[in-house]
């Protein structure tokens, strides 16, 4: 068992909050358009399909973690030796850092388009990354605390979709399964980016007390996000007509435009501002995972690694200038995440299984 002092650990049920808050990020603001483009009004089935497949992957992740006594990086080293294993693990560090950066840059774009066109990327990026550093330096328990609050506080946003119901035509979802199965599966694949986040379990697993008990909470988390996404997709498909949806870059935000309260004329501003809380755990946990890998691989302190990674993230956000580039990095991350979870993880499980048969242990 990887040695993490008990005072640094969290209880198993916290896994739920960490995974849900990591999964819900910027993807939610615009995933509907992408999957509806492929699967039309059957897109909600794709969401359920993507959810089901991520449950399977999660089972594999837990199996792998058990084989390696909770330390995923150790698995890489034992299977591929010090150098190749280390290289693979540093790719993983890069992946988590990229995740933090993509989420942050996409969010900044939303602010620039919807609220403050003259907001400079660097101003927000710098301020936000300092906040994230401040949280992450506090250690994993603080990050988990942020995950908890940043899920609870914005959860009231769910009620705002009540206003949308007035303008929904649910017959638009009929007939069910009118699209060929291949397109539905393809749309499920496009859901990956929105589903991403639960693979962080690979790194924070040692920080959970009685780690093997966390599995049911992790599955509960996946189920929650899947149902939430499915609900949101159903609402979106009923709210927009098909070609209209294709014109929206952020359907979720556009849906907020219909919300009208006696004291708030335009709700999407509240929504976007609140979305900062949803982004915060994404970036914090991304930075934390990345720095944790660095700490284990290289002879550096985690704080130093954090500073370097945050700096890299900061400069990367400056390199992205427009919608096309934001879209591009999102697509890339989506693809990498897909290959990592659905290709690399099953391969790794296969190799582990064979090695275990041959050597007797991993």
């Amino acid at each position: 068992m990887a040695s993490v002092a008990e005072r640094l650990q969290v209880s198993p049920f916290m896994t739920f909050f960490v995974i849900v808050s990591m999964q819900i990020g910027v993807g939610v603001l615009g995933f509907q358009r992408v999957i509806a483009k492929t699967a039309g009004h059957d897109a909600w089935i794709s969401v359920l399909l993507a959810g089901a497949s991520s449950h399977l992957i999660l089972i594999v992740l837990y199996w792998l973690l058990q084989q390696a006594d909770g330390d995923f990086l150790l698995l890489h080293q034992r299977l591929f030796g010090r150098w190749v294993g280390g290289a693979l693990s540093s790719l993983l560090a890069l992946y988590f850092a990229a995740m933090a950066f993509v989420v942050l840059r996409t969010y900044i774009e939303v602010i620039q388009v919807w609220m403050f066109p003259d907001l400079k990327t660097w101003e927000f990026s710098l301020a936000f990354l300092f906040l994230c550093l401040y949280i992450t330096v506090g250690g994993f328990r603080v990050v988990v605390g942020i995950c908890f609050f940043c899920l609870i506080i914005p959860s009231y946003l769910l009620f705002t979709f009540w206003f949308v119901l007035d303008y929904t035509d649910f017959y638009q979802l009929l007939p069910i399964l009118d699209h060929p199965p291949s397109t539905i599966v393809k749309a499920a694949k496009q859901m990956t980016l929105t589903m991403l986040g639960y693979e962080t379990i690979l790194l924070f697993y040692p920080f959970i007390k009685r780690g093997n008990q966390s599995a049911k909470w992790a599955h509960a988390a996946l189920l929650t996000t899947t149902l939430f996404y499915a609900l949101l997709t159903v609402l979106t498909l009923a709210y927009f007509s098909e070609k209209q949806l294709q014109r929206q870059i952020w359907p979720t935000l556009t849906m907020w435009k219909i919300v009208e309260l006696p004291f708030i004329e335009r709700f999407e501003y509240i929504g976007i501002a609140n979305w900062l809380l949803i982004i915060l755990p994404n970036v914090c946990l991304g930075l934390w995972c990345s720095s944790r890998i660095c700490k284990q691989l290289f002879p550096v302190r985690q704080k130093t690694a954090l500073l370097v990674i945050a700096a890299i993230c900061f400069f990367s956000t400056l390199l992205i200038h427009d919608r096309k580039e934001v879209d591009f990095v999102n697509t890339i991350l989506n693809r990498v995440g897909f290959y990592f979870l659905y290709i690399w993880i099953p391969c790794l499980a296969g190799i582990t299984y064979i090695v275990k048969k041959v050597r007797g242990n991993v």
């Binding site: 388009v113 919807w114 609220m115 403050f116 003259d118 907001l119 101003e123 927000f124 710098l126 301020a127 300092f130 906040l131 550093l133 401040y134 330096v137 303008y167 035509d169 017959y171 638009q172 979802l173 009929l174 007939p175 009118d178 927009f240 007509s241 098909e242 070609k243 209209q244 014109r247 556009t254 435009k257 219909i258 009208e260 004329e265 335009r266 999407e268």
Partner: protein, 355 residues
């Protein structure tokens, strides 16, 4: 120590982030309604209405500019004001009749793209020009509020079917439904809803008069809360307040040329009946007459839509949800010859607090 310095820098940056463009209410002109008219070939006249707040009442100011179609006419107006125009609280956008016949999509899409415009923005077509309508002075709270309240009231409690920016765009982009908008006119120092303007794509092709609006609303919107007066015989009228409407549209037969059946079930209460007691027999005959009227008027409306080749009810989209592998093009090829049957069922629930 290094962390503390870092935090200090972070704090400074956080404060600096407040240095964005400010919009102080007293220093800006808030547009409350806009209008677009045709001004000769390839030219557009844009009008904005700005409320001027004074003690006790609100005055109105209108600004007008003409620009070539391709250019943004509202931007042109910025040259005419000392304070910047802000469009975040536009509640009504009006389109002159002649422009509406030419196509209004470019002037709607502008609002669609703009993040600061709400989806509940009311759109309406003006009989005459939008400019003349906006120049009038209506209500004490300013013309902008007057116009949006007029439309809101007529949608929520009268016979105007639900419309706004979102619904216009939804039906504009839908393959199986055509948009419609309120049709209004300036009458002296008032504005009146005179009907509904029907569109094919973004061009106005027909209008429905006020007497047919009730039948249009129950067919298109499936919900109406208006009061409707029907004529029993020569001298006798009865006023019925509509409580609930249920619309059922069913299709049968092949998907390229289905038989359409529209069933309208209404429930209402008697508002006014001048001649003696409202007995069971009278009730039955009122229900019968009302049913008969709904049947004939709605059927006539639907036939008119078929002749004009427009589908504001959305038969195409409804059919698409009933048939697998539905093709809108095949459906609309035969649309004008499809047999549409209308049936109605009226229930009068109460007679008010007297019998």
């Amino acid at each position: 120590m290094s962390i503390r310095t870092a935090l200090l820098i972070g704090f400074t940056v956080a404060i600096l982030c407040g240095c964005l463009r400010k919009e102080i209410l007293d220093d800006i002109n808030i547009e409350s309604a806009v209008g677009f008219d045709e001004a000769g070939k390839e030219k557009i006249r844009g009008t904005v209405l700005i409320p001027v707040y004074k003690k006790g009442e609100t005055a109105n100011k209108t600004l007008t500019a003409v620009s070539p179609t391709a250019k943004d006419v509202l931007e042109e107006l910025q040259y005419k004001t000392s304070e910047p125009l802000v469009n975040g609280s536009i509640e009504t956008a009006l389109y002159g009749k002649r422009l509406a016949k030419r196509g209004i999509f470019p002037f709607v899409n502008k609002f669609h793209r703009d993040a600061s415009i709400g989806a509940r923005l009311y759109l309406a077509v003006v009989d005459g020009t939008a400019e003349r309508l906006l120049e009038g002075r209506y209500g004490r709270q300013g013309s902008g509020i007057y116009l949006s309240n007029l439309l809101k009231q007529n949608i929520e409690q009268r016979d105007l079917p639900k419309t706004n920016l979102h619904l216009f765009l939804k039906t504009y982009y839908a393959d199986g439904k055509d948009p419609f908008l309120p049709y209004i006119r300036r009458v002296g120092e008032d504005v009146q809803v005179i009907g509904v303007a029907l569109f094919r794509n973004d061009r106005m092709v027909d209008t429905i008069g006020r007497s047919d609006m009730f039948y249009f609303k129950i067919a298109a919107d499936a919900y109406s809360e208006g009061t409707h007066t029907i004529r029993l015989n020569r001298q006798h009228y009865v006023s019925i307040k509509n409580i609930s409407t249920k619309r059922t549209i069913s299709f049968s037969g092949p998907k390229t040329r289905p038989h359409i059946h529209v069933h309208l079930a209404l429930e209402g209460v008697v508002r006014e009946y001048k001649r003696g007691a409202f007995t069971f027999d009278v009730r039955k005959s009122v229900e019968k007459t009302f049913e008969q009227q709904i049947r004939s008027k709605t059927a006539a409306l639907l036939r008119r839509f078929q002749e004009k080749h427009i589908d504001p009810i959305g038969f195409g989209d409804l059919a698409a949800s009933r048939y697998r592998q539905f093709r809108h093009r095949d459906f609309y090829k035969n649309y004008s010859h499809l047999p549409i049957r209308v049936t109605a069922e009226v229930t009068i629930r109460d007679t008010g607090i007297i019998e």
